[in-house]
């Protein structure tokens, strides 16, 4: 199996995992962090395998850092905006 095809299998598996997570009814911080972590993994596979950054480790580290900061900010904002589970 080629590197690109293996990447596609990973992307399909991660996408199915995201859908499964959303359908599971899980909520709260665990859901937010899991969903964003899966998105981060998908983005990393696309960058490293589809776009070929695996051949440029320095650039890949830079993109990883940017992606990590973006997802951490998303998680912070999403957790701050979580609707309360029970009405006050």
């Amino acid at each position: 199996m080629s590197v690109v095809t293996r990447a596609w299998v990973w992307l399909v598996a991660l996408s199915v995992a995201s859908t499964g997570l959303a359908a599971s009814g899980l909520a709260g911080p665990a859901f937010v962090v899991s969903v964003l972590a899966l998105a981060g993994l998908k983005a990393r596979v696309i960058l490293s395998r589809y776009l070929g950054l695996a051949a440029a480790p320095g650039w890949q580290r830079g993109f990883d850092l940017g992606l990590g900061l973006f997802l951490a900010t998303c998680a912070t904002l999403a957790l701050a905006g979580q609707t309360p589970l029970t009405p006050p």
Binding site: A7, S18, Y50, G52, A55
Partner: protein, 207 residues
């Protein structure tokens, strides 16, 4: 005096051989380990697009803080299943485009075109699913000004859909040109569209 056909053919063959060697050298230079693969300008475009969509998604999450309940209710009107299917559609289309890049590098013109055709078709599937979601929202009387959630979601997903359409045209163009450099550049744009979607989908549809 007319030239012998054999001599002309030999010269033509030498010329094409030199061109192929030059292409190979150039290709090796472009794939030096540690350097960005492909066109630098395409990476500038990718970074610019990521910055624009990233800022849009962060603004969306920031505005959500002002009305979490309203955003949560509005989100229930979106087509989550269709959006999840669209993720599979785009990553599969990206896979075909990546395989087309390899075929172009191997000089397999027919194969690269056979790979790009379904990649473009899947882009069309993405747009059909997106259009059905929009049609459903409009039928419910929901528009960009109904709620801040929809202002952002229409803006972000609509802008992304415009990129999908542009990517389909670009893939068709590079399939026609069929040179390794063109196909690599077109596929890189397509992967950027794919990359934006995998980040946009959870923020707009799931959180």
């Amino acid at each position: 005096m007319t030239e012998k056909p054999d001599a002309a053919a030999l010269r033509s063959l030498r010329a094409s051989s030199l061109t192929a060697r030059d292409e190979e050298t150039k290709s090796n230079e472009e794939h030096r380990p540690g350097h960005l693969p492909g066109e630098l300008m395409m990476w500038v475009l990718i970074l610019s697009e990521l910055a624009v969509f990233g800022a849009g998604l962060l603004a969306f999450l920031a505005v959500r803080l002002t009305d979490p309940q309203g955003f949560a209710e509005a989100q229930t009107h979106l087509h989550r299943t269709g959006a999840a299917a669209n993720t599979l559609v785009l990553v599969t289309s990206g896979w075909l485009a990546a395989l087309a890049t390899r075929a172009a590098e191997a000089g397999q013109t027919r194969r690269l075109r056979l790979l790009l055709a379904p990649a473009i078709l899947l882009g069309g599937v993405f747009l059909v699913l997106k259009a059905s979601e929009y049609a459903d929202l409009f039928a419910q009387g929901i528009g960009t000004e109904t709620h801040a959630f929809y202002t952002f979601s229409f803006l972000l997903t609509g802008f992304h859909a415009a990129h999908v359409l542009a990517g389909m045209v670009l893939l068709a163009l590079v399939g026609w040109l069929a040179t390794p450099k063109a196909v690599e550049t077109g596929a890189a744009f397509w992967h950027m569209v794919d990359l934006v979607w995998v980040l946009l989908f959870p923020v707009v549809y799931l959180l």
